[in-house]
Amino acid sequence: MAKRQKVLVLYLADSALDSGVVAWSQYDGTGITDHMAGDADEPPYRTGLAALRDGWRLIQASQLQPHAPGTEFTTSYLKYEFFFEQLVDVDG
């Protein structure tokens, strides 16, 4: 059995893992499912904690950065990004 990685990226409403999901992406290294932009209007989980409880492993969380002087009010990329993975057995 070989292993393949599935990746789930959740963007949350604040830095707490149990806050609500505001955006999400999925990539399936097994090739069993395909995901793409705009393929779902409802998130796969309500919170980051719900993903943990469903077996996803948190592998990266965005850092809280001080606000650079002069850009305190600039909004840009989504701020609370959490990467999760699952390792799945596949034939081959």
């Binding site: 409403a13 505001v22 955006a23 999400w24 992406s25 999925q26 793409m36 705009g38 779902a40 990329y77």
Partner: protein, 310 residues
């Protein structure tokens, strides 16, 4: 009938807050038909690469190539479908309200999403376009207008343009946001023929995937202002007390949904808890710019943080 119908204050505030206005089916059928005839039709399936098919279509179409910076009023032949579209009173009024008189043409492009058979013939996957912001990093307060024209009915399976209301004031670098597949509150254009979207240039968007048997067309025109975008709309409904503050947080009745302050401080489903408040602040700053009034505030968001008694 007036040759232009300017926007009212609530629509301008809606544009500032959400970054778009939508007009369903406002373009008459004869203009839609003329436009589709003008652009011509590519084959339903082809083994040629997408860019080559596009190149042939653009070369063969009756739509002119136009130099960037051309005055919009002179950009299109008078009898062309797009000239007629731009002369519709509601369209002319919206353009003048948002970017003023004497706006200039930036560019236009014909977007086509092809049905599955086209991709099967090519042997490439039929996927949606990554979410992106057009052009490049743009830190201006002034804004360009992008008009998306849907000349035929768009059904859900045709993969109408996806966009995320309220993202227009975020300063990002074009395709850097491609990682965001889905965002709460995203919309997919499903519309009758002759529908127009008027978008702030910063709107996050992407083409959908077409799962129907029909080609889907969308024609986009980018238009730039040549005047300061101050009070260009119909301000006759702007009350003398439009800047007066209201009770906030502890309130006893629902706010008027059409009041500019309400519109400017209404959240989007994707707003983060803290940066959602920054979005209000940036909306209010844009509204100040459009009013030409640097003291305007809605629900005290800026007054509070600007209060530094001497």
């Amino acid at each position: 009938m007036a040759d232009r119908v300017l926007l009212k204050t609530p629509d301008m505030a809606r544009f500032v807050a959400h970054g778009y206005l939508r007009m369903d089916g406002v373009v008459p059928a004869e203009i839609n038909e003329q436009f589709l005839t003008d652009v011509g039709r590519p084959p339903a399936a082809s083994t040629e690469k997408l860019l080559k098919t596009y190149g042939k279509l653009l070369a063969a179409s009756a739509i002119p190539a136009i130099a960037a910076g051309t005055p919009l009023a002179k950009a299109y032949p008078a009898e062309s479908a797009i000239a007629k579209l731009l002369a519709l009173p509601v369209v002319r009024g919206a353009i003048e309200s948002l970017v003023g008189p004497n706006a200039v043409f930036d560019h236009h492009f014909l977007h086509i999403t092809f049905p599955p058979a086209f991709y099967e013939a090519l042997g490439v996957p039929n996927v949606s376009q990554h979410t992106h912001q057009d052009s490049t990093i743009d830190t201006r307060r002034a804004f360009d207008l992008q008009i998306m024209y849907f000349p035929h009915e768009v059904t859900r399976e045709m993969g109408g343009t996806r966009f995320v209301p309220g993202t227009h004031l975020r300063i990002v670098s074009e395709a850097a946001i491609g990682r965001y597949q889905n965002v709460r509150g995203q919309q997919h254009v499903v519309c009758p023929a002759g529908t127009l979207l008027f978008l702030h240039h910063g709107m996050w968007h992407g083409g959908g995937v077409n799962r129907s048997d029909h080609l889907r067309y969308m024609f986009k025109i980018r238009i730039c202002p040549t005047v300061k975008q101050v009070r260009l709309w119909d301000t006759s409904d702007l009350d003398n007390d439009h800047f007066a503050q209201r009770p906030i947080f502890f309130v006893k009745e629902a706010p008027d949904p059409e009041h500019a302050h309400t519109l400017l401080t209404s959240p989007e489903p994707w707003f983060e808890a803290d940066t959602g408040r920054l979005e209000y602040i940036n909306r209010i700053r844009l509204w100040r710019h459009l009013l030409g009034d640097r003291h305007f505030d809605a629900d005290y968001w800026l007054t509070r943080i600007e209060n530094e008694p001497a």
